[in-house]
């Protein structure tokens, strides 16, 4: 099977996918209510898409193709309201966050669809452990080579996205010490990590057909890369973010990626190099483990600083691009995260106050549902 041709999309258009947790209002554990929620939503008019996910305690909301922050946040609000209304109607709370703090993976039930059953059989307990919740951001690219270029350039800044969105410190009832423990679950998949260093689409197609010939993969969906091209949309898809605790933060991070992409496309003409990836896993680990306090090593200058400092620096560099994209408000929100902390620090603070993960989860759901 060969790769489908790279569709054309408007450069710098963007789309957001958010995986959400469904919780029982009785104990704020995950509840397998996706079929009920989706049945309820099927009757409602709403923008974008609302879809099932691997296990029945999650759903995914997708925005349509957007151009800028204003439209994006409006649509995310609309999607949030539809989903929250359905949740209240069914005594199901809905929350953001990258992991559920005390769910037990073996209690999760696989959503009844052929692909999910196939994956569940292939990956075994990994599939159920994959009950984690991420934000995916699509950025439109003018062509396939531009997409590969953008993908490799953005790879350097993966720690920014991880640290800003991090909201999964708790797993199976304990504080893992990680800012984003969710990504540790992703890394256990055989095809996770980064895309191969190829800069031309023909080379990428060649790589892809060699991989399919080995029988290891069938489609792009089988790669669990941190960033991957999505030929049918004509986009690249950044997949490292935890689902933030609010849609506002989700929109802000998406627009931060968008503004950075514009900076890369328009201003920063230095080509990516294979050696940029020498520090890749180190930087990514620092972001997962320590969040904004993590160490960031610049792949070119080898200079070390905190991820927070590097984001501050980046915000200054992309300020004109953000203005061009009407994303000034989004950049303000990113700056707020640098000062007030990400989702993980909110969760830790709340837990220190409440002493009970069930109560934390309830407050987290109230925050997301906007009630």
């Amino acid at each position: 099977m060969s790769l489908m041709p790279f569709a054309s999309s408007r450069p710098l258009s963007l789309g957001v996918e958010l995986e959400l947790q469904l919780l029982s209002c009785n104990d704020y554990n995950l509840v397998s209510s996706a079929p009920d929620v989706l049945r309820r939503i099927a009757k409602r008019e709403h923008p974008g898409e609302i879809k099932p996910e691997m296990t029945r305690s999650m759903i995914e909301i997708n925005t349509s193709v957007q151009q800028e922050y204003g439209g994006l946040i409006e649509e995310l609000h609309a999607l949030r309201d539809v989903v929250s209304e359905a949740g209240r109607f069914l005594n199901v709370a809905i929350a953001g966050g990258g992991t559920h703090p005390f769910q037990h993976w073996s209690e999760q039930k696989i959503f009844d669809a052929p692909r999910f059953h196939y994956l569940s059989e292939l990956y075994g307990y990994l599939a159920k452990q994959f009950t984690i919740f991420g934000q995916h951001v699509h950025i439109g690219c003018p062509g396939p080579d531009e997409a590969l270029h953008l993908m490799h350039m953005l790879s350097r800044y993966i720690p920014h996205f991880i640290a800003l969105s991090a909201s999964s410190p708790f797993v199976q009832g304990h504080d893992t010490g990680f800012a984003s423990a969710r990504l540790n679950s992703v890394f256990s998949f055989p095809l996770s990590g980064r895309a191969p260093f190829v800069l031309r689409w023909e080379d990428f197609e060649r790589f892809f057909s060699k991989m399919t010939a080995t029988g290891v993969v069938e489609s792009m969906k089988d790669f669990y890369w941190d960033i991957r091209p999505k030929p049918e949309f004509g986009t690249i898809e950044v997949r490292v973010c935890d689902t933030p605790l609010t849609v506002e933060v989700a929109a802000a991070i998406a627009c931060y990626i968008q503004a950075m992409s514009r900076y890369i496309m328009v201003e920063q003409r230095t080509p990516p190099e294979e050696d940029d990836y020498l520090v890749y896993t180190f930087n990514r680990f620092q972001a997962c483990r320590f969040g904004l306090e993590g160490v960031f090593i610049d792949p070119r200058t080898h200079e070390q600083r905190s991820i927070r400092e590097d984001i501050t620096d980046m915000l200054a560099r992309i300020v004109d691009h953000a203005r061009e994209l009407h994303a000034v408000e989004a950049m303000e929100r990113v700056r707020e995260i640098l000062i007030a902390g990400n989702g993980t620090s909110w969760l830790r603070k709340t837990y220190a106050r409440e002493h009970n993960l069930g109560d934390v989860m309830q407050l987290q759901a109230e925050l997301w549902m906007g009630s």
Binding site: C25, D36, N91, G358
Partner: protein, 406 residues
């Protein structure tokens, strides 16, 4: 010194408590065997053993002193009712009015169906009213116990808990009113006819409210140590149950309302160990054995057809009522059937109401009361199985084997 100073006298004087302890061991073993080999809920075994060994069956167990048993039943039921109340989120009724509608329709339909059937069988109006109100109730004991044991979770489970709590309240309140009406018909003066249910319902509500307030104070003071807290709660439940019976209030209403009030006021759910620890769990098992012991199937001999019809019309009323509003309330057809079926069980609450009526009106106990007793026994044995199958079909049981835990 003689033999008799240190050897027991012959024949041995065996206290009823010894038999009781032995029965507990046997019942738990049988319950376990039911679960492992037949995949049936354990409580079927508990009730079955009581029924088999008790006066209604082989008669191996002597009649046990009623007051002691009554205390066990009251305490265990108090625990289960408080547990039920504290699992129910009343705010849900505001967000989804169709559930409130379903509950009212289900209770009204059950009442109407049973009442008309009894009238058709020539039972007088007042008696028919009492029986029909009792048949509204779904057994909180069986529902809570089966859900705890199976760790079921989902729409049908949540609604089953909510609707059970509600129909229990309707049944107790209307039963008091119906009994008052019977007293009125029997010539009691109006003032007592009217004041008795008023005292009972108002007093129970007040006691429940006080319980809720105290609960919150203690919880605030003790903080988050859940084990200590569940001990205290156990004591509070026992205290409230006994106080309610001393004051001639309804322990059922008090404990259920107390659970609902604490959950409603706290807004945050709290998870406690099942039945608030192992002492509570033992009481619950004893209660089911006692229900089996008290089982009386003699009504079947005279009114087999009536019993069969009572069970059938009640089942039809509940299933059809739930189904008719399933779509609007956000349930699929399958879930609607499951919820309707899961509302079938009858047990302790119905039993206590029947016994109470029988004590006030001996004619009731020997007439329609007997048929009602048979219904209760049958639905007590079948109930747990129906709930289990319904929740399984609705896909709300854990997929891995439930016997590993709970």
């Amino acid at each position: 010194m003689t033999w008799s100073d240190y050897l027991p006298a012959w024949p041995l004087e065996i206290s009823p408590a010894l038999w009781l302890a032995l029965t507990l061991v046997v019942a738990v073993l049988v319950g376990e065997a039911f679960m492992r080999h037949l995949k049936l809920p354990r409580i079927v075994g508990y009730i079955g053993v009581g029924l088999l060994l008790g006066p209604g069956g082989l008669g191996l167990l002597p009649q046990l002193p009623a007051t002691e048993w009554r205390l066990v039943i009251d305490l265990a039921l108090g625990i289960l009712l408080f547990e039920l109340g504290s699992k129910v989120n009343l705010r849900w009724l505001k967000a989804n009015r169709w559930i409130a509608g379903t509950s009212l329709l289900e209770a009204t339909a059950t009442f109407a169906a049973v009442f008309s059937l009894l009238i058709w069988f020539g039972v007088d109006g007042a008696t028919a009213t009492v029986v029909a109100t009792i048949m509204i109730v779904t057994s909180p004991a069986i529902v809570v116990r089966t859900i705890t044991e199976s760790r079921a979770q989902g729409q049908v489970t949540d609604r089953l808990l909510l609707m059970t709590a509600l129909n229990c309240i309707y049944a107790v309140v209307f039963h008091k009113l119906a009994v008052a009406a019977m007293h009125g018909a029997a010539g009691t003066s109006f003032i007592h006819t009217a004041l008795q249910p008023l005292y009972l319902i108002g007093g129970s509500a007040l006691l429940a409210w006080l319980f809720g307030m105290t609960f919150e104070r203690i919880h605030h003071y003790l903080g988050h140590h859940e084990e200590t807290f569940s001990f205290i709660l156990f004591g509070m439940i026992a205290f409230a149950t006994i106080l309610a019976s001393i004051l001639k209030l309804s322990p059922i209403l008090v404990l259920l309302a107390a659970g609902l009030i604490t959950r409603y006021r706290r807004q945050r759910p709290r998870t406690f160990p099942p039945h608030f620890g192992s002492a509570g769990a033992v009481l619950v098992v004893l209660m089911f054995i006692a229900n089996g012991l008290a089982a009386d199937l003699s009504g079947l001999r005279h009114s087999f057809l009536l019993v069969l019809l009572l069970i059938s019309v009640r089942a039809m009323a509940k299933v059809l009522a739930v189904l008719s509003l399933a779509h609007q309330s956000g349930l699929s057809l399958r879930q609607g059937v499951a919820l309707g079926v899961a509302l079938m069980p009858m047990s302790s609450v119905a039993l206590l109401l029947t016994l109470e009526t029988g004590m006030a009106f001996p004619a009731f106990g020997s007439g329609p009361g007997l048929a009602l007793m048979s219904c209760i026994v049958i639905l007590e044995l079948l109930g747990p199985i129906l709930v289990q199958v319904a929740l399984q079909r609705a896909g709300e049981m854990p997929e891995n084997k439930p016997e590993n835990k709970s």
